[in-house]
């Protein structure tokens, strides 16, 4: 049976900064993503949502070149990521910022050194200028005065904000967020969400966010893709999706157990395992 790939457009006339066509990704024999097409316009905040294990983080890892697709291709600013050598990938990554789920701060470095690491690695700026840049970024996330603290002395929300300052310290054109609001208290969620929105606007970036948090994404994202059952189950503005009649979208948005998104893991039949 021929595979039907889904053409998905963000519905914007601006040139897409990211283009994905016929994306297929497998882990061993298990297909994670099957025939996904995307167009992400420049300067927008786009969220990938969906149930756990649907492949949202995998999409980010494919876009950042951590994983290679089995079929299809990904273009960022006209550069085909899937064909890049390791050296080209490293050059490409200098223009992207990534905020991982746990922040992934370097535990043996101070807050200052964590933020300064990308600058030291990729520029020859004098120490005085590095210090000013780091302090500006630290202040912009509301954490001026924490530069000498070690990561273990920070709360979860503070660590996430430091990681955000580090991710944007070289003013990247593209920002990838993997579950940036997970595990934070409501105040920290609002702080990080506001920062993400302000940073995107101030730096003119394009932001891709993987998140489960429907309410926060309604406030933050310009456009949402819902990934389920290896494919894009639905897409549109947060308002469009809230009003959607699509059963998959309705199941996810309203947290229903019954629906086309399966509850059971698609592996061996449990009935047979129970029989021994």
């Amino acid at each position: 049976m021929p595979k039907v790939s889904q053409q998905v457009s963000a519905g914007d006339s601006t040139t897409p900064v990211i283009r994905v066509r016929g994306l297929v990704f497998r882990r061993g024999r298990k297909t994670i993503l099957d025939g996904i097409d995307l167009d992400i316009p420049r300067g927008r905040i786009v969220a990938f949502m969906g149930p756990s294990g649907a492949g949202k983080t995998t999409v980010l890892q494919l876009i950042s070149g951590q994983l290679r697709p089995d079929e299809g291709w990904i273009e960022v600013n006209g550069q085909r990521i899937s064909d890049m050598s390791d050296k080209e990938l490293y050059r490409f990554r200098r223009n992207i910022g990534v905020l991982l789920q746990n922040g992934a701060l370097f535990t043996d470095l101070t807050v200052f050194e964590n933020i300064a690491t990308p600058i030291r690695e990729h520029t020859d700026l004098p120490e005085a200028l590095i210090r000013r840049l780091v302090m500006i970024k630290l202040k912009s996330v509301g954490l001026g005065g924490t530069e000498e603290l070690m990561p273990h002395e920070l709360s979860g929300g503070m660590a996430r904000r430091v990681a955000l300052a580090r991710a944007v310290v070289l003013d990247p054109a593209l920002m990838l967020y993997d579950e940036p609001l997970t595990g934070l208290d409501p105040i920290a969620v609002s702080q990080v969400r506001t920062l993400m929105s302000e940073t995107n606007e101030a730096l003119g970036m394009t932001s891709l966010i993987v998140s489960h948090n429907i309410n926060e994404m309604r406030k933050l994202a310009d456009y949402v893709y819902i990934i389920a059952a290896k494919r894009i189950a639905g897409h549109g503005s947060p308002e469009d999706l809230s009003a959607s009649n699509d059963p998959g979208v309705d199941q996810f948005i309203n947290g229903k157990v019954e629906g086309p998104i399966p509850f059971h893991y698609q592996g061996t039949d449990t009935a047979w395992s129970l029989l021994g």
């Binding site: 490293y90 050059r91 990554r93 990534v98 991982l100 690491t117």
Partner: protein, 256 residues
Amino acid sequence: MTDARTSPIPFAGPLAMSGRCVLFLLRMLAGFRPTAQQFRAVLQQVYLIGARSLVIIMICGFFVGMVLSLQAINALEQFGASDQVSLLVGKSLFRELGPVLTALLFAGRAGTSVTAEIGLMRATSQIDAMELMAIDPIQRVALPRFLAGMISVPLLTAMFNALAILGSVVFSIGIMGLDGGIFWSKLQTGVYFVQDFTGGVWKSLVFGGIVSLIAVYFGYTAKPTGAGVGTATTNTVVLSSVLVLIFDFIMTSFFT
């Protein structure tokens, strides 16, 4: 699908792992750039894994020297040759015990901490974060620790030997009352620089390389879980100890 672990070829698993380990070493060395930043990182690791191992190395060296003298004097007394103790202690220390015991202690003290540290960096996505920041984690994390290990082990061996001789002096001259002049003259005339001392230095360099390579390799390839890091740490001690002893025999055969 048949992989190295399920292959019917004997020793396919260890051979495949050795191959990956050597490729990892080549990748580390191929990307080496002698920058000021790299120099600082190596120096910092020499302090963290080398200087911080000094106390345990010095204590062990001192008592190894004492016990070696005790056994040697007991044996030599039967032939009326107990004044030859410094010769026996010196030769066995510089040729064998110094490099081997220092490498084994280094594997237990510093090798494990390097593996656990890198494994934990993998488990907490710090390695991923580096790759995403276009920073090569092999150059940034593995290489400084590997080079620091190679530099530290010969230096620690020298300290181990010095303290072992001191231990021997304390026991032989201080406790057993042997003549100090004879002790030092036998050591000076009977222990040769090229045959005894240089051979030990080469050995300690090779052992430092083996222990450090295994420590960084197992840390870097550890499964990102608590159990994965634990297993990697155990593997570092076990494999580096076995390899040190195997390579000791091979090198001794060549030098002799």
